[in-house]
């Protein structure tokens, strides 16, 4: 068998141009499939990554009314929704697949809430616990984070994230500066930044709403100060960091269940904690992308069919050309099956080689597409393996008829041929 493969490769090498032309259909077919699949996979990874962020795998569990988040700034605190206690937070952090959990409250885009001198800031204000920066992957970039003392003695201190620092204090060092939140002075003690910087790629307005949303920055204050700027006993939002991206859905659902067990809302009030399942959103977007690309794969498959027929054609020519060789081999004792295998191997080696070249071309093509269109690609290892195996199968299927023809040649007739 190995010898047969060796001989086949030699045969292919001896007819370089012809072999290349024969393989072309397979190469083009496999290359386009690999390119398409890589692009699909890349797009999917992109969607997933952009929705999930820098890969901190944080799932947010938030009080919701029906399908939308409960907006504390417009509505009064709902009845029967208690504050989440530290004990509950510890339980949430211990859910299967969870790494840590953080409790916080927030206001988004509230004009007139935060001022620096006469300039208003309409980003996000969050009252956070000591776990928040860890869970969300923030590092202190300037100054310091909140200390236990800040919480215990109700210090009026605030921390900015980079974009807030940039928009409130452009070109200045914000440390030690004072901002007013609800007319209360807060001293800036630090600036935080995401430990792994991740910039979602935004090309269209749609991308912007999908991936960026509210990225005008955030101001953080200790959760102990929340009653001062908002209200007492506001039910918190929970961010839970999951160990892996795939754990996020389950962790979010489990956490919501634990919190909801403490709720004493009316039966018909449809108020409950819900996990904001970005993974599911990602999947929906991915499905949309897949559906269109699947059709492209079918079209590329036609090229494989054409390639297969080309292989059959050239194998028939080869059999005719080598009639005398086949006759001789039979005369000196080659069994029918041996001739059959020889030609099948040749066809399979030819198409496998085409498959391998196709895969390499496809990877190259995907890179080019990625360069030109800016969308990322991801090489799918199972897809490449499948492509090579599949092209080998094409060789076997389309090589079968010529091989059978060769095997059934009458040696007398074959030897008579010059």
């Amino acid at each position: 068998m190995i010898e047969n493969i060796g001989l086949s490769i030699q045969g292919i090498w001896n007819h370089k141009l012809r072999s290349l032309l024969t393989m072309l259909g397979i190469i083009i077919g496999i290359a386009s499939i690999i390119a398409i699949v890589s692009t699909i996979k890349g797009t999917n990874e992109q969607i997933k990554q952009q929705l999930i962020g820098a890969g901190n795998n944080v799932v947010t569990v938030q009080l919701s009314q029906g399908d939308s988040p409960f907006e504390m700034q417009y509505t009064a605190k709902p009845d029967g929704v208690p504050v989440i206690s530290e004990d509950t937070r510890t339980r949430l952090a211990q859910v299967d697949g969870a790494v840590d959990a953080s409790l916080y409250t927030q206001r988004t885009y509230v004009d007139g809430l935060i001022y620096c001198g006469n300039t208003g800031f309409s980003g996000t204000l969050r009252g956070i616990d000591s776990h928040y920066f860890g869970v969300n992957g923030y590092n202190v970039y300037l100054g310091r984070g909140f200390s236990q003392q800040d919480y215990d003695s109700y210090k009026k201190v605030a921390i900015l994230d980079q974009s807030a620092a940039g928009s409130i204090f452009p070109g200045q060092n914000p440390l030690g500066k004072v901002i007013e939140i609800k007319q209360e002075p807060f001293t800036i003690i630090g600036v935080v930044a995401l430990s792994s910087t991740y910039e979602p790629k935004v090309e269209t307005l749609e991308d912007y709403y999908t991936y960026v949303g509210n990225d005008s920055g955030a101001v953080y204050i200790p959760s102990a100060q929340w009653p001062l700027v908002a209200q007492f006993d506001e039910p918190q939002i929970v961010d839970i960091q999951a160990a892996t991206t795939d754990d996020m859905t389950v962790v979010g659902k489990d956490a919501a269940e634990i919190i909801n067990a403490n709720l004493t809302v009316k039966q018909d009030s449809n108020i409950a904690y819900k996990s904001n399942d970005v993974l599911e959103r990602a999947r929906n977007l991915q499905q949309l992308a897949n559906a269109t690309n699947q059709q492209l794969v079918w079209i590329a498959s036609i090229s494989l069919l054409v390639g297969g027929i080309g292989v059959m054609n050239i194998m028939l020519v080869t059999v005719t050309e080598r009639t005398r060789e086949i006759g001789l081999k039979k005369a000196i004792g080659a069994r029918r099956s041996r001739i059959l295998w020889q030609f099948l191997t040749e066809a399979a080696v030819l198409t496998s080689l085409g498959g391998i070249i196709g895969v390499l071309t496809g990877i190259g093509l995907a890179q080019i597409v990625s360069r030109v269109s800016g969308s990322p690609t991801a090489i799918s290892v199972p897809a490449t393996a499948l492509a090579v195996v599949f092209s080998m199968l094409i060789g076997i299927v389309f090589g079968l008829m010529p091989a059978v023809k060769a095997a059934n040649l009458n040696p007398i007739e074959a030897l008579r041929r010059e």
């Binding site: 039979k330 005369a331 000196i332 069994r335």
Partner: protein, 225 residues
């Protein structure tokens, strides 16, 4: 007895007509004999060779090769018989162009499942026996016609067949190479190899111990010299 043909007839169908090619051929070849079958073209000698060489089946009659009746054997069994019992030498040497002389000679042993190392060793010995020990790694296009034919003889002989079956082995060679090849046959016969030579040339036939003349599908004369 190496080979025995009894009352062999062979007809070819041409459309609805049956064209008889061989009529009631009786022939026996003993161990170590050197037999020439001579006849003009169209006399049926190639058909006879195909029947002896297990490439074709007779319309009627019996063939016995090394005590085995060839009637009704399967395709695979016949292939194995050709591999073990018969060494073919054709007019054109018919070497595989992509292979070296050594690999060409070793080819029949491949079909017998002999391990590569042993195969090449035996092929090498055989090439040395035909005087081409220094051409092992040459491809056919690097060899002269006479050398190619000697490689073909080595290929035919490598499996120690019962019978060396040669069809016009000198037909495509110049006189000098032809003589060398004939000498090689003579030499092999001296070493005990049984040879059947098909030829239309009386000169070639003269080298054999026995000559059968075949004409219009019938063996006309037979005898030893």
């Amino acid at each position: 007895m190496v080979l025995e043909l009894r009352d062999i007839c062979k007809d070819y169908a041409r459309g609805k007509m049956k064209v008889p090619v061989l009529h009631h051929i009786d022939l026996s070849v003993e161990e170590g004999e050197y037999v020439a079958i001579m006849g003009p073209s169209g006399s049926g000698k190639t058909t006879l060779m195909n029947l002896i060489g297990c490439l074709d089946v007779p319309t009627s009659g019996k063939r016995i090769l090394r005590g085995e009746d060839l009637d009704g054997l399967s395709d695979d069994r016949l292939a194995d018989l050709r591999n073990r019992e018969i060494g073919f030498v054709f007019q054109a040497a018919d070497l595989l162009p992509g292979m070296t002389a050594l690999e060409n000679v070793a080819l029949p042993l491949t079909y017998r499942g002999v391990k590569k190392k042993e195969r090449l060793q035996r092929a090498k010995e055989m090439l040395e026996r035909v005087g081409l020990g220094d051409r092992l790694d040459h491809k056919p296009n690097q060899l002269s016609g006479g050398q190619c034919q000697r490689v073909a003889i080595a290929r035919a002989m490598v499996g120690n067949p019962s019978l060396l079956l040669a069809d016009e082995p000198t037909g495509a060679l110049d006189t000098q190479s032809g003589e060398q090849v004939m000498e090689l046959f003579h030499h092999l016969n001296q070493e005990g190899v049984t040879i059947i030579m098909i030829t239309h040339s009386s000169e070639v036939a003269a080298c054999a111990q026995k000559t059968y003349l075949i004409r219009d599908g019938r063996i006309q004369t037979g005898g030893s010299r």
